[in-house]
Amino acid sequence: MSDWLPRIRRALWLVIWAAMALAGGVLLFRQYDAAPPPAASDIPFGGHFTLIDRHGQPFTDAKLKGRPFAIFFGYTRCPDVCPTSLNRMAQLRTQLGADGNKFDIVFVSVDPDHDSPQTVGAYVDLFGTPIIGLTGSTAQIAEITKAYHLYVAKVPQADGDFTIDHTAAIFLMGRNGEFVAMIDHQEDQNMALAKLRQLVGA
């Protein structure tokens, strides 16, 4: 009778510990579950946005209506992926021949701290084909980041500056601003060309 109570007490503690461990595990799992960026194909990319054009004027998604467009996000300090992707779009436009002018190319700088609207304009001019260069306030960038489900993260450096991790896909959007297809940065050029042909209805 005397060693009965401690045994029950021990058993109760065991149950409590087990419950706490389980709850902790569930919480951790949920956090982990929430972390990765959405990748499901049923998520509609695109939507309303307001940004700033090279002249410092507001530029909304409505200005792109009526023509398909290819939109890419980056920053001018980006070492490779941004120039490579914009070069690629310029090449694809040439490969499309007469259909090459049936769509717009849009570059959005997600780094308004370093890229002024004028700088973005001067940057896109280097590629030798018409490209609409845009940027915006932090809030405006946040809005379009959300609309396109982009991964954009400032990474602080020891010197006080920062780099930006960002999604490197090219989004192909229809004439009504609807999502049509995506060109991955590693995608084969012929595949990319086929997608663009589909986009412009060639």
Partner: protein, 156 residues
Amino acid sequence: MTKNFSRLTLATLLTIPAIVQAAPTRHVTIEQPWARETAEGQAAGGGFMTIVNTARQSDQLLSASAPVAREVQIHTMSMDGGVMRMRHLPEGVTVPAKGRLDLKPGGLHIMFIGLKEPLRRGTHVPVTLNFKNAGTMTVDFSVQPITAALPMGHGQ
């Protein structure tokens, strides 16, 4: 005979300083140094090169500087699940013994940070590279159009 001997001595004496001077730093050479052109107002730009190390020990590119930029940093870039990531390498990069290290698009590069003027295509910018063993050397980086994946004449 005496004349021949003194000629030989003179020739030997003349050769020695040349060897002594060349020996310590020429284990590292730079091939194809080039930079991407930048637009007016652009804060930073990238530079690329191949570092060739003929020494029996590895070497390290510790730092770099250039008059055209406030600072030159050594960076790496990688793609991770469709996301572009760029990182500063404050310790620099190691060049293997009797080997080469490529700083090329898609990976390692130097970043000209705080550009005082745009990098204009067709021009050259001097960059001073500081190696742990090979010491300091200044190399002219050729500025290429942004549309170039590799420097002119070196396309794959």
